[in-house]
């Protein structure tokens, strides 16, 4: 009887250990494969986030912008598999809203401000195949980024403004490529002492002459050091919001310092000679320093100048390192070209009017 029992018990521990060992190896496999899957998911998500933002940054309402967005996605360098493998064949499509519909090649790029990037990577599994039979597991990530409207600026605007008396008109009546006063010329009882910039209509000129007496559209500091920071670093002494009345902060400023700062900004651009917006944008040396974001304002009375919205304006150059903004007595107008919408971080203007920041929305 005793002998029989001994035979049954012999090997019991070994068998138990074997079973537990198999379970533990399974746990080890889970630790390795699932751990790597989590890492791969985060890595591909980082890829999609960065790629979608890079795409949106290039979108400007044109087919060229869509093409540049696709190139930006293809050039995104974030890797996966613990930074050892590049993400291959990511897909990118575009939409006018976060809910779609999504289009890989929109026939008209106008209004497209959303980009969706999707990536799938085949993660090799080392232990899971013992259970699942599959040697790889696809890890999928998606990210949607957009040009998100900015309605209030605490930093980013240059301390000038452009006048429009058409708050309900498309682009507030501004014409792409036309020159507008960002700082108006001095005036007397007979009107402006120098002709305003060519794009400003009579209604805008009348509004300025009637409602702005000593101020000319500048709303920054009068101190030289601060003016440099405002023009070159886009700092603001006050926050500006759509619908706000900025009459109280309009001032004449220090014109020579302003002009020097504007010229410095122009000279910082890789293309400081083209005065055609089209030529500038197509010049591969340009870096966006000549594009500034400005509030569009409507001077409706001597006590009310309302911010209608924002847009990007292209600073002019005389093609040399000399001043193009301070001429004669300094009382002549400072002109800039209406370029479209302002997209923070982009070296190109967007389409239409408005100001946007680039960020993930989903």
């Amino acid at each position: 009887m005793r002998i029989a029992k001994t035979k049954r018990e012999r090997g019991f521990v070994l068998i138990t250990m074997a079973i537990i060992t198999i379970a533990l190896i399974g746990a080890l496999g889970m630790a390795v494969d699932v751990g790597r899957a989590f890492i791969a998911k985060n890595e591909t998500q980082a890829f999609c986030d960065a790629a979608s933002m890079a795409a949106v940054l290039k979108m400007d309402g044109t087919a060229t912008g869509i093409g540049n967005a696709k190139t930006a996605v293809a050039n995104t360098t974030n890797a996966w598999n613990m930074d050892t493998a590049s993400v291959s064949n990511p897909t990118v499509d575009f939409a006018t809203s976060a809910s779609g519909p999504w289009n890989t090649n929109p026939s008209s790029a106008a209004g497209y401000t959303f980009a969706r990037v999707q990536a799938t990577v085949p993660l090799p599994f080392y232990f899971a195949p013992l259970v699942t039979g599959s040697l790889t597991q696809n890890v999928y990530s998606v990210s949607i980024a957009a040009q998100i409207p900015i309605t209030s600026f605490s930093r980013g605007l240059a301390p000038y403004s452009v006048v429009s008396t058409q708050p309900n008109a498309t682009n507030f009546g501004l014409v792409l490529g036309s020159q507008y006063d960002i700082h108006w010329p001095n005036s007397n009882a007979n009107g402006f002492i120098s002709p305003p910039c060519s794009g400003d209509p009579l209604a805008s000129q009348t509004a300025v002459l009637t409602n702005w007496t000593s101020t000319k559209g500048y709303w920054g500091s009068n101190a030289s050091s601060v003016i440099y920071q405002e023009v070159l670093d886009n700092t603001q002494i006050v926050q500006i919001s759509i619908g706000e009345n900025i009459t109280s902060i309009l001032t004449s400023g220090d014109k020579q310092t302003q002009a020097t700062a504007l010229n410095t900004r122009v000279q910082e651009d890789g293309d400081y000679s083209d005065n055609s917006l089209t030529s500038y944008v197509s010049n591969t040396s340009h870096n966006g320093r000549r594009l500034i974001a400005l509030p569009i304002v409507d001077p409706t009375s001597t006590t009310n100048t309302t911010v209608l919205g924002y847009a990007a304006f292209f600073l002019l150059s005389d093609g040399t390192a000399n001043s193009s903004y301070y001429k004669g007595t300094g009382n002549e107008p400072y002109c800039a070209v209406y370029a479209g919408s302002y997209v923070q971080g982009s070296v190109n203007p967007g389409s239409g009017t408005g100001a946007f920041r680039v960020g993930p929305v989903q």
Binding site: V13, M17, L28, N42, M53, R155
Partner: protein, 158 residues
């Protein structure tokens, strides 16, 4: 006969005890190795994942804030804020790093310039050793995890 049975029983019990000890020794060796391996791999992957998330947050943060240098060498306050963001999850700094032993000097930032302006920010970890307890300092991370974001902040070089 009685003596023989007693002797055989005594020997049998000693044999069983020896067998169990031998089986346990063999089994426990495998068990400890499996436990250790599970922990080492799991904890290492956990740390790497934490670092990847922290680096991603740091790169994203660097891509948003005003860049204050005219060159690819960032100003000290900019660099410090990004390093703090990676290590502590807070640009102002902190006391508890996201991974054991991670210090700001192991967080590197490479701004990418195109035509004289910043266009991307790359953040990565360099010289960090993953502490896996059972396999101390066996995995050193150089240039990884690494994340690059397009720069979408306000260039403010003065």
């Amino acid at each position: 006969m009685m003596k023989h049975l007693l002797t055989r029983g005594f020997h049998s019990q000693r044999g069983r005890a020896g067998n169990i000890m031998l089986e346990f020794a063999l089994g426990s060796g495998i068990l400890v190795a499996a436990f250790g391996g599970t922990f080492v791999f799991g904890y290492s992957f956990y740390q790497y994942n934490s670092l990847a998330n922290a680096v991603n947050d740091g790169a994203r943060y660097a891509s948003l804030i005003p860049y204050t240098s005219t060159t690819t060498t960032p100003k000290p306050d900019f660099l410090q804020a990004v390093q703090n963001m990676v290590v502590y999850g807070n640009p102002a700094g902190g006391t508890a790093p996201v991974a054991p032993g991670l210090t700001t000097d192991k967080v590197k930032l490479t701004p990418v310039f195109t035509n004289g302006v910043p266009t991307a920010m790359t953040v990565y970890i360099n010289g960090y050793q993953i502490d896996s307890l059972f396999a101390r300092n066996t995995l050193t991370l150089n240039n990884k995890p690494q994340v690059t974001y397009p720069y979408v902040g306000i260039y403010s070089p003065y």
